[in-house]
Subunit: 754 residues, 2 copies
């Protein structure tokens, strides 16, 4: 469900400043002895030649021929079709089914009832020339899955993106959503955050619309002339509170098998508290135009040809949302290639196959790349390749409603995954442009090495080089550019949630990578009926060459992880990244202290009162206590331990490298890999994060108010952000302990290498 | 013609960091002995009580009753009416007439000729309820004065604000305006810059439109519901190349008297090189919607409900502009109050009376404040007040076409002004909100002192305090806030051009202040038929209390300047401001060097090529030579000399202050004031700036590409910006010499005080 944006390029570019690492020679591969690397490179060369753009196009044509959301006939048919292909390529594959709560629309009404009347169409029209856009009988209507049922009539308030800072701004203008219906625009956060925050502020309903500024005509020509969202295009999507836990709302923490104990729906905390409905800008314009009240500040303005007001009213709106709360099956297709040496170490690769409607870009562009990887690996197996470790390829179902297929599968296989999982490699959407690589810092040098070996289809540079250049172009400072030019690695972005990696990374604690290409074929088709074969073959990766590049990138990564004699984790990168997070937290606290003190001072000296325009009065924010100093020592000590252990491990690896083939063979026969495979798990705490026990990773979680966006050291960071300072102190002890435990494990690994 | 914007508040706030000055005690006045200050304060208290909001309302009703542009019957009638009032208040007043080139529209056609046809209305409709908006027969049609005549048909290109950086962006997309008609939106610079830059790039015509993002519905409700520009509202205005010289294009440097030698119109360099016409967004939308070519980058987007493209074409446009190139009279109304002690020292105060149409906000709101000052001073004269120096009140004509009345008057009286002028105090528009105070640093402590004595009508704080608080709210850093809280002075903004101060400051070199209130009643009425009594009494300073505040501010400043025993110039502020300009120039050169080197490096390493999307290719900018190091020593030495001299003068003033009344009386009897009055002139160089000899001030000029916006040390700054580095070196010697001469004069003044 994730939509790649080029914005991400710059935001992650300076997370950590790494010391330059001596580059491995071109033929060297991290974790491989020289002779093993030579063999690996030969197999990889064979692999690289197999994935075919034409095959991917043919798969996409089939998979997107009909709407294929969870519970639809075509969803099941696609799963069986993928299974048949996996099997035909010689893979050992099966379907795993789970039964999950999946609401679909029963009644949807949105109308302006005063001062004038208007009834929203809630309908995406077919577009001439686009054959699948007319399959109305099979299309899921536009809705937000897991909206609570409700029937409300109330004044309307425009809340911008609907995030906490937006409500602060409303309060400064004396505007409240208490008893009102909030209309928010899509963007800036996970959509499920919008009804959550609206409900926190007393709203009785929530409307989310796609403003043309964000993915409509302001960005470019609209479909079918161009790729952007047309007037009546709607972004469907889940509004579930995935920040508590993703997956089936009724079976948190366990697989949704027939035997699973299920919550009553009324007790499921991830269903929204108020009804929520997504609409097009065609439907939104009459509602927004009917608002009065203060004119919005500049950054709140969208691209509709109106004056944006906050309200409340005089527009009154009637919102009715009712769902069929059915249990539906999800069909995960699982293919396994058994490991020849360490079968109990698993490399898992996945992409979802379900879509909101026809879903060409999301997810089929990623799914067809995964299929070509599977076909190519099947080919290598026929040629005699035997991966050292077990490889699992998964085509997940039910990602769109809320990561259902992947989460239930992970929960069902949690114990085994905790034992065995080496890494999870995810993809989702795919387009033209730049490699997106996000994930665990311990895999950063590894995946950078892969990216240096894949050719960009447009420039014929390596995809790594092209991304480096894009980051240089987007860099905000000379320091950032210098780092980008000198470092062997491009820094990985941090993973929050919003795609199938979540249960692997956040719940179990598995080293994770999320891969995809994008940034050059943005559009406004996301989660609409227009995300289909016609759209993708006119505006997406039309030649499917980035599909091939994704197959080569992810497939190569899978092979290297599966074949490495020593697992290619890099703890120096992990440690320096962790040190960066600690510094970030210190800066965060300092800036909260400074900003609070300054704001209080301005309130006291009357600055807010003096600058309130009596014609458009504004209200000073409330004074707040200045945050206390907190003890960062436990965190710093943990981070320093990890830094020292990482140095020791790196020295041991260097000695092994100097000694050559035999040393690698000895290492691989030792208990080293068994220790290494646990290093990612050691960064979890089984008690989970405060208030959300499903999330056990102490380094990463989706933010409660960001959703897609990650919070690093979330227990600490969110406690500071939410001004729960004694919780922050406690969380620093917890995270410090986890870091110390990780350091001890890394020390054991270093000892095993000697 | 200037429109106040709150933006100015933050942009000027950190120009210089001043050492804290010991505050004068509340009753102390700079330049006054204790006993003279007591007398002055008594007269000022009487003055303050006189200006009346009701009177200002009545004046405005009369002055705005009909359109009163240059050459209209009502323009002359208003001049005579103002004269009659000045005379009735006991002032010695007369009208001074000049005869200037003033084009008015003969033919105007703008039409889209392909791919579809559309003819622009070029007409602002009357608004029901707004009685003067229907006076069509008397209204000047919408046009840009001093547009060259022309009749062209060509493809259209959208050029954003039409500034050089915009053409660089077009070039990066392979788009040229050569042989095309450029359509630019209003804003970001003086409108005359837009056709100038378009012509520099080969355009054959230029259209300027008001995008609703900038002063239309994006900002707030449109007239008559709200104050912002309605769909068919047009911003008239001069397109003259005032950066070469303002005033009558035919008589540069001399008053446009009957005897003046006149250029042939064809030889007048300030008339545009290509035809230019302003239009509404109603007329612009069909043209912009018909453009193809690359989609514009985000910052170029306006608020029309369309996708903005660059072009060129397929839209082809026919533009016809023809003017009646008549000679018209301008009527300056001049009132004189003779000085009782130093009659040959003049304090000049002015505001224009002509308008583009009915002109309530621009300029009548300022003009009626000036009239109330004149009435109040007349009252004081009747009560026995006798100012020490001569005071001249001026109601200028012809400001809108291009500062005609003030410029011709200054040119005609140039020799006397060089001898006698102590200061010029300008105002123009006036609205609700915050004091705007821009001008000469030597007057900064003086005008800050005045601002501390004027009460803000809304908050009942001093207008100084309210402005300080607004600047604290808008400050971008803790350093800036600390300075704002600690300094006795709020830094003045720098004056470029765009109102009647230009000839005083830029041509003669007179210490200048520009005063007005604004920031709380922004609108989109500027230079349209809707800037009228109805608009102003619904959306402007409706109670005329800021009109009274302006009378109190400017009137108090006039009285203090006229009565001070020692002219209240502060050379320490001048010197520290100048030091700041030198630092700015060093930073400018450094950043140009760094940016050029980085850009060249990115070009050479292929970064631009690697990040060009083949579907939307972009072209790397050309490599440029890295700017050489320049010798700032002459500037630094001049600035240091001035700093030392300013210290000596300040010490001498401190001694005088310690000695009390007699010391002031002695100083006032010395040649001190005669020396001081020349200090502003000493900052000029009679040879003028490179390529524009009319501009002789070596500290300030309107930028060639900004117009409204000032360039400090313009000969140096623009040479660096335009990469004329040997010119920059030479200019630094010139400016350094001027600063040394100023230092010597300040030393003489210090010596005269001893």
């Amino acid at each position: 469900m994730r939509a790649f944006t080029l914005l991400a390029l710059s935001s992650v570019a300076v997370a950590t400043i790494l010391p330059a690492r001596p580059s491995p020679s071109p033929s060297e591969l991290i974790g491989f002895s020289p002779s093993a690397a030579r063999v690996e490179r030969e197999w990889e060369a064979k692999f690289d030649a197999i994935p075919s753009p034409d095959s991917q196009r043919a798969y996409m044509r089939h998979l997107t021929a009909r709407p294929h959301h969870v519970g639809s006939l075509y969803d099941k048919a696609n799963a069986e079709w993928i299974l048949a292909h996996f099997t035909s390529w010689g893979l050992d594959a099966h379907i795993e089914r789970f039964d999950v709560l999946f609401p679909t629309p029963r009644e949807r009404v949105l109308e302006l009832v005063s001062p004038t009347r208007f009834r929203a169409t809630l309908q995406e029209p077919a577009v001439p020339g686009d054959p699948t856009s007319s399959q109305r009988a099979d299309q899921l209507p536009t809705y937000n899955a897991y909206s609570d049922d409700g029937d409300v009539t109330a004044p309307l308030v425009y809340v911008n993106y609907g995030l906490p800072a937006d409500y602060d701004e409303l309060a400064r203008h004396g505007v409240s959503v208490k008893g009102a219906i909030a209309i928010a625009r899509y963007g800036a956060s996970w959509r499920g955050v919008k009804p959550m925050v609206a409900a926190e502020h007393g709203a009785v309903g929530c409307i989310i619309y796609s403003d043309p500024r964000d993915d409509g005509y302001a960005q470019g020509d609209v479909f079918p002339k161009g790729p952007f969202r047309p007037r009546d295009g709607v972004q469907r999507g889940s509004a579930m509170l995935m920040q508590l836990y993703p997956g089936d709302p009724l079976t948190p923490g366990v697989g949704a098998t027939p035997a699973a104990k299920r919550l009553a729906r009324a007790d499921a905390p991830t269903i929204t508290k108020i009804p929520v409905l997504p609409i097009s800008y065609g439907d939104a314009e009459p509602l927004l135009a009917a608002l009065g009240g203060p004119v919005v500040p500049g950054p709140w303005r969208g691209a509709l040809g109106i004056t944006y007001h906050m309200g409340p009213g005089p527009a009154r709106v009637h919102l009715l949302v009712k769902s069929n709360w059915d249990i539906a099956p999800v069909y995960d297709v699982i293919a396994t290639i058994p490991g020849s040496v360490e079968p109990d170490q698993w490399v898992v690769r996945g992409n979802h196959h379900d879509a909101w409607v026809n879903g060409a870009e999301d997810p089929t562009a990623g799914q067809v790349a995964l299929m070509e990887e599977a076909r190519a690996l099947g080919g290598l197996l026929k040629d005699g390749w035997r991966p050292r470790r077990t490889i699992i390829y998964a085509a997940w179902d039910g990602e769109e409603p809320m990561l259902l297929g992947s989460t239930e599968w992970v929960e069902e296989h949690a114990d085994e995954l905790r034992q065995k999982a080496v890494a999870y490699l995810n993809s989702d959407t795919n387009e033209r442009g730049y490699l997106e690589m996000d994930g665990s810092p311990s895999l950063q040098p590894f995946i950078n090495g892969v990216a240096k070996d894949v050719e960009d289809p447009e420039t014929h540079l390596s995809v790594w080089k092209r991304l480096q250049m894009a980051r240089i172009r987007g860099a905000g400072s000379n320091d950032e550019r210098r780092h980008l030019r000198q470092s062997d690695d491009l820094t990985l972005g941090e993973l929050g949630s919003g795609s199938d990696f979540s249960a692997f990374l956040d719940h179990i604690g598995i080293a994770t990578l999320n891969l995809g290409y994008g940034g050059e074929s943005d559009g406004g088709e996301y989660h609409s009926v227009y995300d289909d074969f016609y759209w993708y073959t006119h505006f997406g990766d039309t030649a499917f060459v980035y599909g091939r590049a994704l197959s080569q990138t992810a497939g190569t990564a899978v092979m290297r992880l599966a074949d490495a004699e020593v697992l290619p984790y890099d703890f120096k990168t992990l440690a320096s990244t962790v040190q960066g997070y600690v510094t970030d937290l210190q800066n965060l606290l300092k800036s909260e202290q400074d900003e609070t003190a300054e704001r209080n001072r301005e309130i006291e000296e009357g600055t807010y009162a003096a600058t309130s325009d009596p014609w458009h009065p504004t209200i000073a924010p409330p004074e707040q206590a200045v945050p206390p100093h907190l003890s960062f020592a436990p965190l710093q000590n943990g981070a320093d331990s990890l830094t020292r252990s990482a140095e020791r491990y790196a020295s041991a690896v260097a000695v092994m490298r100097d000694r050559g083939d035999t040393a690698y063979a000895n290492a691989a026969r030792s208990r080293l890999n068994a220790l290494l495979v646990q290093t990612a798990r050691r960064l979890t705490d089984g008690r989970g994060l405060p208030g959300r026990p499903w999330y056990t990773n102490e380094l990463y979680a989706p933010g409660m108010y960001t959703g897609y966006g990650a919070k690093t050291m979330p227990a600490v960071r969110e406690a500071i952000e939410q001004r729960k300072f004694s919780e922050a102190d406690e969380a620093m002890r917890t995270v410090g302990g986890v870091l110390s435990a990780e350091a001890a494990l890394v020390d054991s690994a270093a000892a095993a290498l000697r």
